[in-house]
Symmetry: C2
Subunit: 340 residues, 2 copies
């Protein structure tokens, strides 16, 4: 045991021990013990965050602590699962008290807001790396899956996707011609650094939405996962995309690139039958979140021999403007912060 | 999506999808869904392995795949939990097909032996880092904890601790004066690279052992965790330590340092009431594992005011030879492969 690693004990293990209510044993024994409520399943997701790929070397540690947990809670939100707890494994080049204090504060503030408790972990010396595994509870029959979209479903998105990508551009000084003012830059940066996982919306959408996922790699790329796994296509009204006021002040081409191909949003993209529109609106109101209908699930050409032989073939996304005119958008090659 | 990361899909995700029986959804959706059997708890443990700290940069990837899962299964063994599944997150500098093929083969061979299925994961580019989270199933009332040792309990250990530490020395060429012959060196090295998690023993010890943990940082240091959490002391017969034939050929001082302070053994250390000796022997026979009684749990001096005021104060370990004569052993400063 490195004596300096007692700092980590102070900021994580002690806090987990005093706060623990749900997990049995946990930090201090070989394993934590946890069970979902009777009749429910445990939803499990794991994410690894690496310096230079998912965050900048000089990232504010408070923001990093928040985001490391937020991206994992977002996976629970996308399943409609109620957060229960998480494990945290991380490698640090050298424990630094100020850094650990801020990092743990950012993480625990979000954890407490979602009643999600630290159940166990591992720490080691090494290049900075964060690996979280989150646990939630959901009934299997109402879990929000990716493979359940149906032809005719509305396609919805929460919040205003694209702001996080504009935040990355603002930090990098990527678009000198776009002249982002400082208030907008601060807004974009906050969207990138403090994404809010849509846990309440995911819970409210159980039994209402048909398929769902969270947007981590960009709306177009992530929606493609639903289309592939559900064997359907999509028709998107590009003029319906919900844009923040700040994003709406950028050139139109950047608006669309950010909203459709920008990563790190952690909003939910979901489908629901048209007769569920009022129920979707009610769920959004209950969660205090804006949701917008942006398109329709369409069928694959099942007459084609190719569709039968290659059920996992690439789906087709059709982009249209408000008048219904098809648009030719090039989303390839738009640089993400992380691309895996 | 980096196209080269489709290699990872080939070696991990596809295999997980075709092999999955226990987890619902899993790889390809936002979360895996899993539930323990009725009346059981899910035991959860997470470990992070870092190059240069837990393994050498030129480690055989097959051995690394084995060991990354083995150290996690060992945590389940130490709880008496039946393995169910695991998630794998890893960062790789650059996907290399030969490396991934060997790494995944080493991991899945062990996973299949323990019927433990890959349920989900995450991959990213970055300095080599492996983070596994394992899930097992155990009834809470028979889970093997660390805080339940009682005065008068026998102290047991499985296998022959110390061999892994000698393997590290053999690779490093650390003890030129000890003249390890090449057969012994190969044996030691295998102990270091292919530790066998004592899953069957852990299962057989449920209801028999009182407290248990696995030896990752050395018998003395790990036993100390049981003593601290159970508020007891220990009396160890150093001459009773089980040594492999190869370790017994080393100078006596190295034997003791390896057996007591060597890390990476992943054997079980446990306590049981003396009336359970036959039951312990039966459990070991059932698991096909050697177990050895090495000492006794003794009480703290509860008359002392300090013991009342500091229930978490450092426990005392007393070392004796076969005749009962106390020995003065210095275990501090014995270099481990990893020390956190």
């Amino acid at each position: 045991m490195l004596s300096e690693f007692s700092l980590i004990d102070r900021y994580f293990a002690q806090r987990a021990r005093t706060g623990a209510r749900r997990a049995t044993l946990g930090i201090g024994d070989d394993c934590a013990l946890i069970a979902p409520a009777a009749g429910e399943m445990l939803a499990v997701s794991t994410d690894m965050l690496v310096e230079g790929r998912h965050f900048f070397p000089d990232v504010d540690p408070h923001a990093l602590g928040h985001k490391a947990l937020a991206v994992n809670l977002s996976d629970l939100a996308a399943m409609g699962a109620q957060p229960l707890g998480f494990t945290l494994a991380f490698a640090l080049p050298k424990p630094d008290e100020n850094w650990l204090a801020a990092f743990s504060a950012g993480m625990f503030e979000l954890a407490e807001r979602h009643d999600c408790e630290l159940m166990g972990g591992d720490t080691t010396a090494g290049p900075l790396n964060l690996c979280l595994t989150v646990f939630g509870s959901v009934r299997q029959d109402v879990a929000l899956r990716r493979d359940t979209a149906q032809t005719g479903d509305d396609i919805w998105v929460s919040g205003t996707p694209g702001d996080a990508r504009a935040g990355l551009a603002a930090i990098r000084g990527e678009w000198p011609h776009a002249a982002i003012d400082s208030t907008d830059a601060a807004y974009f940066r906050r969207a990138l650094e403090y994404p809010q996982p849509q846990v309440a919306l995911g819970l409210a959408l159980r039994g209402v939405a048909r398929a769902a996922l969270d947007i981590s790699d960009g709306l177009a790329g992530d929606l493609r996962h639903i289309l592939t796994r559900s064997h359907v296509n999509a028709d998107i009204d590009v003029d319906a995309l919900p844009l923040s006021d700040a994003l709406a002040r950028l050139p139109r081409e950047l608006q669309l690139q950010c909203a459709l191909a920008g990563g790190d949003d952690y909003e939910l993209c979901f489908t629901a039958a048209p007769q569920q529109r009022e129920a979707v609106a009610a769920a959004a109101q209950q969660a205090g979140v804006r949701v917008t209908r942006i398109g329709t699930i369409t069928s694959r050409d099942t007459a084609s021999q190719a569709a039968h032989e290659q059920p996992d073939a690439a789906p087709t996304m059709t982009w249209r403007d408000r008048a219904g005119t098809p648009l030719n958008l090039t989303l390839q090659g738009f640089d993400h912060f992380h691309a895996d």
